[in-house]
């Protein structure tokens, strides 16, 4: 029995649908297409899969996916909470299951008609009185109804404290847009962006302008996770899970952790960093590329600091030194990310992390041994390091 998750599991398959603004099909259709493609990618059959993991926010239940895809008996399934914070959690749950023998091959998935169907940021409301709904009651009546508004409160403080400006945010948005130009699946392919384009876009919630905010898309994305041993004999080059954790920090709320001492930091990400570096024996200097969760540009600045790529307040200088570009110190979101590829709630960033290990990214940097991928910012979250066999 393993006593740590380090090197016990690997991603052996990835699958994704086309990403679009109007899929014209059900979310179950998107989910099953992505799941089936991940299974095919690994060279397995649906009947080889015995576990499924998705988001609590996902509308396609595990058994519906299993029946549709032809997955037979299952011994493990779970759902992970907190929106985009779930992304890495999916991998963590699946890795635990395969490492302990609860399941052999687990597919994790997320599929949503996020543009043509229920969009994010349309406000939170509801009738069932849950602790979560009571939590939102402290914000909804005041008009704090969207992810942009919640993140803006933190971003404003961060920028004021460390002197970060719109130009710094623009660097992140423009770099990822540039990466998307080589990605045939990216929503913003064919639409490169200049500093003027960025600055002239309308204000959403100060300091966030339109292009500080991610895409909204329809699509599905899935990963097949198996034991590191079995992965070696499968069709693709495995992305070994060096380390993975979920992370929620003291005083954590879902998007509204406004009550901590320092709002200009992400202590849950610092916690995740500490754990995955300990698990893997690696440090920031060992990470060759990253897919940092990027629903909003300021999240990148704060994560760069949380994971030790630069000191507190130094991320603005880190990004203006072109560090996040292909030739930079930390190529980041080489597929365009949530900002410019698609908003698949972070699972598409995990898929890119796997491609970077395989060497098949549309913007493949040389010599990638370790990739850091994170999930949602401002929520209970998680981080994973993928590595070579």
């Amino acid at each position: 029995m393993p006593t740590t998750i380090h090197n016990e599991a690997a991603v052996a398959g990835i699958g994704q649908t086309a990403y679009s603004k109007k899929s014209g099909v059900s979310e179950l259709s998107l989910a099953t297409e992505a799941v089936r493609k991940a299974i095919d990618d690994a060279g397995l059959r649906p009947s080889d899969v015995d576990g499924l993991v998705t988001y609590t926010m996902d509308s396609s239940d595990e058994v519906e996916v299993a029946r549709t895809v032809g997955i037979g008996d299952m011994t493990f399934w779970s759902k992970v909470n907190y929106g985009g914070g779930a992304a890495v959690g999916l991998v963590a749950h699946a890795a635990m299951a395969v490492a302990t023998g609860m399941a052999k091959n687990v597919v994790v998935y997320r599929a949503l008609n996020g543009r043509s169907g229920q969009r994010m940021g349309q406000g939170v409301s509801g009738q069932i009185i849950s602790s979560d709904l009571i939590h939102w009651s402290w914000y909804m009546p005041f008009g704090l109804l969207t992810p942009a508004s919640w993140i803006a409160l933190q971003a404003k403080l961060y920028m004021e404290k460390y002197g970060a400006t719109s130009e710094h945010l623009a660097h992140i948005a423009i770099t990822q847009r540039m990466h998307a130009q080589n990605n045939p699946n990216a929503a913003m392919r064919g639409k490169p962006m200049t500093m003027d384009d960025y600055m002239n876009a309308r204000m959403i919630c100060e300091p966030l302008r339109l292009f500080d905010c991610c895409q909204e898309d329809d699509g599905g994305c899935a990963l097949l996770i198996t034991s590191a041993e079995r992965a070696k004999d499968m069709k693709q080059k495995p992305a070994v899970i060096r380390a993975v954790t979920q992370a929620s920090f003291e005083g954590q709320e879902q998007m509204t952790s406004f009550y901590r001492e320092d709002l200009a930091a992400l202590p849950e990400m610092e916690l995740a960093a500490k754990i995955i570096y300990e698990q893997s024996g690696l440090g920031a200097k060992d990470i060759d590329a990253a897919c940092l969760y990027d629903a909003f540009t300021p999240e990148i600045l704060m994560q760069l600091e949380a994971f030790g790529f630069c000191g507190k307040g130094e991320a603005k200088d880190f990004v203006t030194a072109d560090s996040l570009t292909l030739g930079g110190a930390l190529p980041n979101n080489t597929h365009g990310g949530l900002l410019s590829e698609a908003y698949l709630h972070g699972v598409n960033n995990l898929a890119e992390g796997v491609r970077l290990i395989r060497g098949t990214s549309c913007n493949q940097p040389e010599g990638v041994d370790h990739v850091l991928v994170t999930s949602g910012v401002g929520v209970p979250t998680g981080a994973v390091i993928f590595g070579q066999v």
Partner: protein, 330 residues
Amino acid sequence: MNENDKKAFETQLRTFVGRPIGPPMTGRDPVNEPMIRQWCDAMGETHPAYLDAKAAKGTIHGEIKAPPTMLQAWVMEGWEMHEGYDEPKNEQHRLHKFLADHGYTGVLGTNTEENYTRYLRLGEQVTAETVIAEISDEKATGRGIGYFITTRTSFVNEKGEDIGSMSFRVLRYKPPAEAASAGGGAGKDGKSAAVAAKPTRIKPPMGQDNAWWWEKVAKENVLPIQRCTGCGKLRHPPRPMCDACGSQKWDSIAASGRGTIHTFTVIHYPQFPGYDYPIVSIIVDLEEGERMASTLVECKPEQVAIGMPVELLIHTDEDGFKIPFFRPAK
């Protein structure tokens, strides 16, 4: 409006019926391929008869033709039609301004009906003549009381040949708040016409852990802060157990209402009904040491600053809902 004013208003309103809105209007450009292409792009129209010269050769027209439903696009005025009715440029503008000046400030397109006589071909020059065809009696609608205005437009080409026609109907109505203040809240039949309530902010869902707080705001005009009666620790937002001593017993104190802005954002988009935008949204450090999310009022967005002293203001919505806001400290 008293009865006589109303009669005079109605009489003047009727004089608009039958009037052309102005001289016939000729499109700025003849029927042309680029406009057809852009319109098709915008509408998601992909039929090759409109877009592909080669494919169009095989049709009975032998060349690209315009989609019939594009009819009105050929004579649209462009952006200037959106400039409002402050300086009416034609009879239609005058009619709308007349109604708006009498409190019928709401406008809602209700339906349109178009007839197409034949396809338009490249190079044809479209001219439209529009007449104010009908004005309904005053109606009570879900939006408020108002008048349905129907205009009829006939479209001809440069030779005066009939191409098609359109009737277009809009509702010009008094939003309920205006209906009340203008004293015109009753329809012809005497029933209240202010059917649709004005949208309000999203109310907090009330559960056992938070309802008491909102009730205190409403009844006592205070900003309550929950206090553990075991160890005295304050906590906001309220929760059912003290995280310091584990006590489930609590009461509350009334905050002094003084605080400073810890951080803020100005919310521009998206805009939800029931809120006034832009919203200056703030996180306040209360004097008592707790922090809360609220809204800053009586302050221009460009004057907000982190560290700014603020004071409590219990705001009351039109529907009577009370909510603790802040304003710059006096």
